[in-house]
Symmetry: C2
Subunit: 142 residues, 2 copies
């Protein structure tokens, strides 16, 4: 969105870039416990939702809905349909504005607790992670 946008390198160890949507960089969290996207608005210097202008906020909301569709698609491909979406802009660890969209199930091991800061990620492995990212890019929602 701005030529100076750069995702905080703190996102790199836990997630990969899937694609860019009109507002956000879309990342897939490398954690097979949950279908989990991270949306990072591609503008510089954002920390809070209020740092986006109203048009940007409306775009973010629509990309949150689209990310929910992607998460549902990933979950269905894994034969573990989403029972509840968890959507959150926290930023306590990495301050750059970003929104988590996580698919939850009653049997997901952490239910009903939130996912952040609980348990260790179960990585996909490099090939499976890239395959999941490709699946998103090729999907209608992606």
């Amino acid at each position: 969105m701005t030529p100076h946008f750069k995702a905080d390198p703190a996102f790199d160890p836990g997630s990969i870039v899937v694609c860019d949507w009109p507002l956000c960089q879309v990342r897939l969290q490398d954690d097979t416990r949950f279908p989990w996207l991270i949306l990072i608005p591609r503008r510089e210097g954002l920390h809070e939702i209020a740092d986006l202008d109203p048009a940007g906020r409306a775009a973010l909301m629509e990309e949150i809905v689209r990310a929910g569709d992607v998460v549902r698609m990933l979950a269905e491909a894994a034969h573990r349909p989403v029972q509840k979406l968890n959507v959150a802009a926290l930023g306590n660890v990495t301050a750059q504005l970003h929104v988590h969209v996580v698919g939850r199930r009653h049997d997901d091991g952490l239910w009903p607790d939130p996912v952040w800061g609980r348990g260790a990620a179960l990585p996909y492995g490099p090939a499976a992670l890239q395959a999941a990212a490709s699946r998103i890019r090729l999907s209608q929602a992606g």
Copy 2:
């Protein structure tokens, strides 16, 4: 928003109704550890953000921003300014669509963890809770 809207009674033990905004019922969480509002869109049968139409979603986004202003105001009145807002639509415990807007500080006792499902609430006490709700109603943001 619809005549049939009713907040789930599960919200009652932990929060009080402050006022109605164009879309949402605004509730104050009864927990002095954090300045914390809950927004419940006043339409029937909502569980996910995607259950709102696009206009409703845009309205929700703007009320999230407004709730952030209220949370900042409450925090400043308590001489503990907000350092980060946490915004989340979870719904794992109470499925009716609602959004938490929580003011966080590095010294708030749970930082950087999320607030949900961690530690016990520290209630305001009835008079202080009503006073905080009044302060919100009388404020510019409220």
